[in-house]
């Protein structure tokens, strides 16, 4: 990739707000989708003839379908509260990366076409016609938002720029101006079953290899079952867990937990993907289609529980949307959802996060750990934005912060938190979420990681942290790639269940401790 050279931002001594540099990232444009990527998802292949009219029509359609979008377009008072909250603004200084300014790219057109003031006095309220320049500005800057919702925490009306950028992407898709990264992947997941495009036989071989590795290491017969009908638990995990580092170590951690607790579980080939990029492009219909694969797998495999692996936006889709989209959840009174819900065991949360499951088992004393397995590490935890601000774990609000930390503390002796202004509810995005984890946006990804890198660097220097755990496939991939730009070793990023894996003692493990590993597996 012949991307232009750029400078990694300098770490700031104190968090300070940058002076504006207009158009600093105006040149950053992720690759548009090829026609067949678009058409497969039901969008026009290329920019349609009368795209202006179609875009306005679509905007009107969305305004009628989504109350959030409607209220957010009207309610902003330009108070400025959100202006300094976005990691992309902090890292790039481009004013259009200030959340309200990003919204205004769309709001200006909304005002022109849907408000009285904008129709008759456009100059007064900053209303604009939808020109080609405006459309390209939409494309560039709505693909510089990772939909992390940090801005919505600080807005007095909860205006969520993530919702606005989803609407903008939906409008652009509807006129044939989709983004390659998201739309291509959405094709793969619907054709093959996962974002990677990994076919069934390859998946089977991979899982066997991992299972063997765990068995060799522990001397226990650990399996990673695939397509087992009648298993209790269906594990839905991001496909990165099958091939990327440090994701794989997380998957092995889940396998060990299931094994130690004696839970019968399975992965599905048909639904071998937790990620659902339809959320990033705001497409309800595609999001439902992709989620329905999980519904179908659950019905076909006759499972009683559905557990979701470490992935941020996937947990949002699962926790917040699955029940709505496909009835994976509880409390439905309609036949479509009840068909599935009757089969599920509602004494467990449906769906359940893998951290909830592990923490539950820890509390019931069903798992044994040797914490010294992690003594070479001093660990901190990166709250992933979608988990933090769009979901929950456990029964109490904020469980999404405490449960992962509880698990880490149960398996590690050395844990420290990063600066409180950068974690939990106000955590910073890794810089690669929301459909931006693509090489053509490398400059943006590196710059957007700045606030997290600064906070991490501080605990590295002050507390000798050498591992940052995360529970999101995108965060892990993004950090592994951008940390070297900031002089931080890439293996600093670890999967949370990698820490579990390195401390857990399986039943029967170590009983023949003195024996060489090869013999122990016999």
């Amino acid at each position: 990739m012949a991307a232009a050279k750029f400078d990694t931002p300098n770490m700031r001594e104190y968090p300070s707000i940058p002076a504006l540099q207009p158009d600093a990232t105006a040149h950053l444009k992720s690759f548009p989708a090829a026609p067949d990527h678009n058409t497969f998802l039901g969008f026009p292949g290329e920019l349609v003839e009368n795209w202006q009219d179609k875009a306005i029509e679509k905007m009107g359609d969305l305004l009628g379908k989504y109350r959030g979008f409607r209220v957010f377009m009207d309610a902003c008072v330009k108070c400025g509260s959100c202006t300094d909250k976005c990691h992309y603004f902090q890292g790039t200084s481009d004013p259009k990366n200030m959340p309200v300014a990003r919204q205004d790219l769309l709001r200006s057109v909304y005002r022109r076409h849907f408000t009285l003031a904008g129709k008759y006095l456009p100059w007064l309220v900053g209303a604009r016609d939808l020109t080609r320049e405006v459309l390209d500005e939409w494309y560039n800057y709505f693909h510089q938002c990772s939909q992390c919702r940090r801005c919505s925490v600080f807005c007095p009306y909860g205006i969520d720029t993530a919702e606005v950028s989803m609407a903008a992407r939906e409008i652009m898709d509807s006129i044939g101006y989709g983004q390659k990264y998201c739309n291509e992947i959405l094709g793969k997941v619907q054709k093959v079953g996962n974002n990677l495009g990994l076919p069934g036989p390859a998946l089977e071989a991979t899982l066997e290899e991992f299972a063997e590795e765990i068995s060799d290491e522990t001397g226990c017969d650990v399996k990673i079952p695939l397509d087992v009908e009648g298993a209790d638990v269906l594990l839905i995990t991001p496909s990165a867990d099958f091939f990327a580092e440090p994701h794989i170590d997380g998957l092995m951690g889940y396998a060990k937990v299931f094994h130690a607790a004696g839970i019968s579980w399975t992965v599905s080939t048909y639904a071998s993907e937790a990620a659902n990029f339809s959320m990033f492009i705001g497409s309800y219909s595609n999001m439902k289609k992709v989620a329905e694969r999980i519904r179908k797998a659950a019905i076909d495999l006759k499972v009683k529980r559905i557990v979701v692996g470490e992935c941020g936006h996937a947990w949002r889709v699962a926790y917040s949307f699955w029940n709505t989209l496909t009835g994976v959840g509880s409390g439905a009174d309609d036949p479509y959802a009840q068909q599935l819900q009757k089969q599920l065991d509602h004494s467990y949360p449906i769906p359940q996060h893998i951290c909830e499951l592990t923490w539950d088992l820890i509390q019931q004393n069903k798992l044994t750990f040797d914490k010294s397995g992690n003594d070479h590490r001093t660990v901190t935890f990166h709250d992933s934005c979608n988990v933090a601000r769009a979901t929950r774990m456990g029964t109490e609000p904020g469980g999404q912060f405490d449960i992962p930390r509880n698990v880490i503390k149960a398996v590690c002796n050395n844990y420290v938190d990063m600066d409180p202004d950068t974690i939990r509810e106000v955590t910073y995005c890794c810089g690669g979420g929301g459909g931006l984890l693509t090489d053509d946006l490398m400059e943006l990804r590196v710059k957007g990681a700045l606030p997290r890198m600064e906070a991490l660097k501080r605990v590295i220097d002050e507390d000798k942290v050498n591992a940052m755990a995360a529970i999101c496939a995108i965060c892990k991939a993004q950090f592994a790639k951008v940390m070297p730009y900031y002089g931080i070793p890439m293996d600093t990023i670890v999967s949370l269940h990698q820490l579990v894996k390195d401390a857990i003692i399986l039943p029967g493990q170590g009983e023949e401790k003195a024996e060489p590993a090869a013999e122990a597996t016999e």
Partner: protein
């Protein structure tokens, strides 16, 4: 009946009608537009009473703003609380026998006028001098502040510099409410004050002042965090299940 009295009477009837109809239209629009997905900004309350409390903290204390920026919060909150007191204080012009609560707050309401203008000026100074806020400001944002400062300033003029005949003013408004026109005093501060208030009523449903009803309909703030426990389904989305 003087020309001005008739003019202001018509002005207030029109303004009130536009305000009520316009606002009712927008509120109806918000209320009837579905929110198809559960999108509360978490951590969020898991019960309806929790959501009522969250909303109350937003509306009364500006909780999110407080988390964000103490300067905007202090000026903004000062302005709004003062505005609320000032509006309550004005109730006496519309009540034959004034409620005890309204009588009680009269002295507070008087000083609130100062704080209201002070808060507005603080916000305006930030809007002009803070680069980021200047960047997101349109002419209408300045004009809105000018309008409110104008209302506050002309009101304070009447209170502390050039008294108007408030008995006659009260008679005028009580008359309006009974469709029985009474003469309106004609001193400049009063006419300016009332003219600007009428203008504020008119633009309310067409401007960013919609944040006032809007906040109650914001799904990131008003939704209960219970998507796993209850199936949440919008009518248009339910169609897709078939």
């Amino acid at each position: 009946m003087s020309f001005l009295t008739v003019l202001y009477a018509l002005l207030f009837y029109t303004a009130t009608a536009l305000f009520i109809v316009g606002l009712a239209y927008k509120i109806r629009q918000y209320a009837t537009t579905p929110a198809p997905l559960k999108i509360p900004t978490t951590p969020a309350p898991t019960t309806t009473s929790g959501v009522v409390l969250r909303m109350a903290r937003e509306v009364v204390l500006f909780e999110s703003l407080f988390k964000s920026n103490k300067w905007i919060w202090i000026f903004g909150w000062m302005f709004h609380v003062s505005l609320a007191l000032v509006i309550l204080r004005h109730f006496r012009y519309f009540q034959e026998s004034v409620w005890p609560l309204i009588v009680f707050i009269q002295p507070f309401g008087m000083y609130a006028g100062f704080f209201m203008v002070l808060g507005l000026l603080g916000l305006w100074v930030r809007r002009i001098f803070v680069e980021r806020i200047r960047y997101i400001t349109s002419p209408s944002d300045h004009l809105m502040l000018a309008l409110l400062v104008g209302i506050g300033f002309s009101g304070l003029m009447m209170k502390f510099v050039e008294h108007t005949d408030i008995v006659a003013v009260k008679a005028f408004f009580l008359g309006l409410m009974r469709f029985d026109l009474q003469p309106l005093p004609t001193d400049a501060p009063l006419l300016i004050h009332l003219g600007l208030v009428a203008l504020l009523l008119i633009i309310f449903p067409f401007s960013k002042l919609l944040h006032a009803p809007g906040v109650f309909f914001s799904p990131t703030r008003n939704q209960v965090d219970n998507p796993r426990e209850r199936r949440h389904l919008a009518p248009w989305a339910a169609e897709l299940d078939k």
